[in-house]
Structures are given as C-alpha cells and as structure tokens.
C-alpha cells in the first residue's frame, strides 16, 4: 500500500506541475489571442466604457448592431452579448464593468432558455477565465460550491476554450463591429423544427434572483435598464416570461416586447433560423429598437446626444 500511495503522490505531483505550466501557457495565449469572442469578452470585462451596453445570449449578439444605436442616439454602444450564456454570466460581467464605470443604458435581451430555465446553468466557460476576481469568484461559488475546487486546476479553467484560443492566436481581428456578430443567410422554411417554440419550462429560482439583484444594482448606480424580448420566427407562449414581466412591473423596468411581433412573423428574409435574425433582420430590428429608446428618452425628458446637439 505504501508503494502505491507513493506512486500516486508522484503522479499527482507531476500532474500539478504540468497543470501549472499549462496554466501559465494558456493564460498567456488567452491574454494575447486574436480569437474574436475572447477579444470581445476581454474588452467587455476590462476596457468597455460605452454609454449603452447590450447584454444577453446569442440573440443579443446577433440581433443588436451597436452602430445603429450610436447613429440614432449619439451615444457610444457596445454589444456585450455572449453566446449561450444567460443572466448569471452577465451579472458577473456587470460586476466587473461597474467597478470601472457606470453605463448610461443597458438593454438586456431576455431569452427564457438561458435566463429562466433550470438545467441550463452557466458552465462558467466565460466567467471562470476571470475566477481570480472576487466578484466573479463569489458568483461561481454561489452557483456551484464545488466549482472553486475544480478551478484550482489551470487546465480545467481553460477546458474546451484552449483550442479556440490557440487556433486563432495568430489571426488579426479588431473590434470594429463592436461586439455585433450577425448571422448571414435566410431561413429555410423547410428546415423548421416541428416542435413548438419555447415549451413550458421549469423556472430556476437562482436565475430569477440574479435578475432581481441586477435590477437593484442598475437602479442604485443610475443605469437605465431595459428588458428586451427580440423577435422569434415561430409563435412563442409569452407566459413563460411571466417572472420577467412581474419583476419589471414591480421595479418599474421598461419591457420592449417583440417576441410575437406580427411584422417579423413569416419573414424568412429577416431570419437565419427560428431563434435568430439574420444581418438584414438585425438591422431592421436595431433601427426599430433605437427609435423606441430614443422616443422613451425624449418622453422622459432625458437627453440623447443628438438631442443635446440640436439644442
């Protein structure tokens, strides 16, 4: 038994050393990679200072063109959307952001699958890269008390991501699209799934709690928050968003709801798939949203940069 234990300890020691070396190398790669998502993500966490932030999952990333908001409202805008990530991740990003500055406006695109549904909790693919920051570490620990133990492994921290980071290490990419990542191509109606969109879900109480915190902290810091429900090709049962509607009503958060907007229904030229607009659809929708926000701001007597210039 003694010899076996010694052999095991030697193996553990070797693995720890290799893990630390790998972590050092992967950390360097992550810091210097030109991989698009990573660049945008790092910009969001460490550098963004735009007046308007767009947050949400892939539907945010592909539906909102920041330049249209900038042109319409005269405020700088950045799309902080993260593919496949919901409120828990974005709350983490917000903690990192508010340490540096206070955005004027946040548009949060709510998508039930990632923002309300149980069983789709963040796998921390994005957050764990910043797990050495206390704000993020606290969130990770709350969501999964065992995760901090796993994060002791540097290789685990870069699980799956490392290939992407390494593959794009030598590419050149800039942030000219400001985080916007459109889908190109029209929807093929022959390829629509037969199942109904967004069937009844089991709510994740922790995610709903994170929404409450997000709302509270936005209000405390003076950020105007909007909940946005962007268009969906198929009909959606809006009652699944009841927790968002209730929270918005209670806290006075405007909800801009285009889920079942008839303008978008049946418009295969505006969609890439049943859940995502294509580039053309995103421009149409962004322009519509920018106009709505502008009108709301003017109604509230709040200046848009264009309005100020006009005056």
């Amino acid at each position: 038994m003694k010899k076996l234990i010694i052999r095991l300890l030697v193996l553990v020691a070797i693995v720890v050393v290799i893990d630390r070396v790998a972590g050092f190398v992967l950390s360097y790669i992550a810091k210097n990679t030109q991989e698009r998502e990573m660049l945008e993500y790092k910009h969001t966490c460490d550098h963004v200072t735009d007046d308007i932030l767009l947050m949400g999952s892939s539907r945010c990333k592909t539906h909102y063109d920041p330049k249209i908001f900038e042109d319409s409202l005269g405020f700088s805008c950045f799309n902080c959307g993260v593919m496949g990530e919901g409120i828990i991740t974005h709350y983490g990003l917000y903690q990192l952001i508010r340490k540096r500055y206070t955005p004027k406006i946040i548009l949060f695109d709510v998508y039930a699958l990632f923002d309300l549904q149980e069983e789709t909790r963040s796998q921390f693919d994005v957050l764990k890269l910043y797990s050495d920051r206390k704000e993020v570490a606290d969130i990770i620990k709350e969501v999964d008390p065992l995760e901090p133990n796993k994060l002791q492994s540097q290789m685990y921290r870069y699980n799956y991501q490392w290939i992407k980071l390494l593959a794009k290490f030598f590419q050149k990419y800039d942030l000219r699209d400001k985080g916007y990542s459109p889908y190109i191509g029209d929807l093929d109606p022959n390829k629509l799934p037969t199942s109904k969109a967004e069937s009844p879900i089991v709510y994740d109480s922790l995610k709903i709690d994170y929404f409450r915190r997000f709302v509270r902290e936005c209000k405390e810091s003076g950020t105007q928050l909007y909940f946005c429900l962007s268009p969906y090709y198929l009909d959606v049962d809006e009652t699944i968003y009841a927790p968002i509607f209730e929270l918005a009503e209670k806290e006075g958060i405007p909800v801009i709801n285009h889920l079942n907007d008839s303008f978008y229904k049946g418009r295969t030229d505006l969609f890439h798939d049943e859940r995502h607009l294509n580039d053309k659809g995103a421009h149409v929708y962004s322009a519509q949203m920018a106009h709505i926000i502008k009108t709301q701001l003017q109604t509230q007597g709040l200046p848009t940069a264009n309005h100020q210039q006009h005056n």
Binding site: L4, R7, L11, I18, A22, K164
Partner: protein
Amino acid sequence: MVFNSFQFLWLFPLIWLVYYGVQKLAGRKLIPTRTTNYLLLVLSYLLYLQFNPAYALVLLWVTLSTYLSALALRPHNPKHRKLYLSLGIIVGVAPLLVFKYYNFILSSITDAAHYFGIEIGMPGLNWAVPLGISFFSFQAIGYVCDVYHKRIEAETNLWDYMLFVAFFPQILSGPISKAASLLPQIKGERTFDAHKAEQGLKYILWGYFLKIVLADRIGVYVDTIYAQYSVQNGITCLLTSILYSFQIYGDFAGYSLMAIGTGKVLGFDLINNFNRPYLSASVTEFWRRWHISLSLWLKDYIYIPLGGSRKGEGRTYLNIIITFLVSGIWHGANWTFVVWGLLHGIFQTIEKALRLQSVSAKGFVRWIRIAFTFMLVTFAWIFFRMPTLESAWTVISKIFTQFGREINWASASINQAIVFVALLILALKSLVEEKGSKVSLINHKNIVVRYSTYVFLIAMILLCGVLNSSSFIYANF
C-alpha cells in the same frame, strides 16, 4: 455516488482509506474479519440513500424477498420448489414491473383500446424509477434461479447477501454479477493487493476518458442534431447515428470500467462487461462482446430455460427472438426498445439460419463483415436513442431517401475535433488489443511511458472533457 462526479473524486479515496484501515485491523485479528463486509454494506446503503431514501426500501424489498425464497429452496425442503422459485421471481421482480413498466403497460392498453373505440381511464403512477432497479433486480433473481438449479447453495448470511445485491460499485449500472462469482469474494478473506488496486485505478482512468472525453463530447453533437432531427438531411442523420454508437459505447463501457476498477481497488474482481464489441463480425458475436454480464444473464435465465437450441430449429429461432425481446423491454419502457430488441433477435436468427456464426472470416472478408455488423447495430441503436417509433423511422427514412451532400456540423468544429482525436485513440487501442498484442501504453514496463500515458489521459480529461457530471445513459435503466 456517480463515478464521474466531483464527489467520487474526494469521497472514494476516503472510503478506500477507511476500508484499508479496517482491513488491516481485521488482518491483525484486532477486529472481526466480517467488519470489512459490514463497512461495505453500510457504505453501499448510505450511498444509495443519497439518491432518494425511498429507493432503499425497494432495494431492501428485492433483497429480502429473494433471500427468503432462496432459503425456501434448500434441499431439505424439496416440496413446492417450483412454487418458491416462482414466488421469489414474482415478488422480486414486482417493484421493477410496477415502477418501470406500469405506466407503459397502461398507456399501451389505453392506446390499443382507443384504437377499437374503447375509452379506458385509469390513473398512472407518478413515481420516479429507483436507480439501478433493473440491474439489482436481475442480479437478485439470477441468484434465486441459481439456487433452484443447485448451482450454488442458498446464502444463509443475510448481511453477506445484502452486500451482494447492494454492492455500491455495481448497483447503478452493473456489471450484473453471478452469485457464484461475487458471493465467495464477499465471504472470503480479502487482503490488500497493490497490483490489483493499481490495475483498478487504471481502469477508472480509462473509464473516465471514455465517458467524459469520448461519450460526452459526442453527446454534445448528437443531442444538438437529434433535437432537430426533422430538419436534418440523411447524411447528417447517418453520421449522427454512427457517432451515437460510439457515444453509448463510451458511456456504458466507461461506466463499467469505473465500476470494475472501483471493485478492484477494494479487492473484488467483477466481470468484464465489454470486449471491443464493434470489432464483431456478426451480431451474435456482438452480444458476446457487448454488455457481457447481461448477455450471460439472458442466456442462463431466459434462453436456456426456454429450451435454448435443444428443441429444433424453429423453436431455437423463437427462443432467440423472445430472449432479445426481454432484453429490449429490460432496457426501457417504450416500444422503441421493444423494436430494438426485436431487431437484434431477428438479426441473430437470420445469422443462425444461414449458419453465419459458425463461418469464421479472416482478413478483408472479416473487415467487410465487421463493417456490415457495425451498420446493423448502428441502425438498431437509432430505435434505442429516439424517443418514439415515428421519430426513429423518420431518421432511418431520411438516410435512405434524403441523403443530401452537406453534413451539418452544428457549428462546433472544436467539439468535433476532440471527438475525432478521442475516436482515433480508441481505435488504435482497440486494434492493437484485438491483434492480441501485449503492447499497452498504460501498462508499459517503461515507467516514463506509463506515467506519460497517465498524464496524457488526465490532461485530455481536464482540457477536453465535459466536466459537468453528466448522467450515464444506462443509469436510466
């Protein structure tokens, strides 16, 4: 305790240390030898209780009913042996039938009655199926049958028998042990075997690789495609089906290896459950290499009691079909599993009728047969994977009628790259072992090669594995 969970990583070493300590004390006669068994029994029940305390009552029911039936079958009580056997099987299998099949039977009867215009309104059961019930029920019933056929003596020590049924490495998803194999190990004196423990740890490591890297990475793609199977073309469906064959292998073989490895660390030898099944040259051979413990169980307790191959050709074919219908039904309460089992029964019946199992093939011909067998098994797996007969049929018909040209990779090229590398590693290892080569990196005599292999596998798991404690496919049975 799920093997691919973080809990296993910290809890099992603790269990092992405590068990080793108790074993050492027992070896020095400071405590009774039986203490190690009591420890394993308590641990097995505690670990099972954490899923749902009510499940333990079901486990206890199956254990006690089969224990008592076997005692009633002792030689000095010759009367009514068949009655006690029947009672033991019925009472032992009753929880399995109720929990797993009641709703299925009810809905099938309701649907059939509805077809004839008769409406039946009976309440269904909203009970979760106790984990591992299919496995431990079969293990217990196998024991009763063995006692009836006088292959083994009835176990008189209740605690030893309880451990036999509830042994934690195998309770959730097998292997299904024979009493003649496991009970003597439970009853015998076990001393620490460093070599066996080391082998066990290697089994666990390779099992982790198969499950977390191979199976779960394939699962990411398969789940994405099959979630929208109706919009995929045939070539995508075919690729997904092929990948699913490897997913279920990685998942189940991975689990079995972890179970066997855990058993070895504790000093037990559990039956090997997989033997490179996709290198089989016939479906009959496939079932000698896939889920070996279940195959043996079906042969000994269904096929042979039905008459096996002793009652003429026609009856033999019927017995094969029935045996694999039972296998299908055992796997799940859905007509898809029935069809899956039926297909395997039909394939083997045809092979037997054409005398294909007795024709050994070599070289190129063998490879053709391996490929053909793999495709037959893959098509059968479609029924296993899809939730309904209709969806399974849709996938199959797309393969033949809407093949198309472009594969839908689901925009996850990194995932697919990992899958490719993992499959390559599996293929190389399997081919080397199939050739009978003794070359094994994980068992290499050169310490640098061995340790490099360990580190490589661990790195693959940490860097490429799906590390969110995903469930095992066979844990649903």
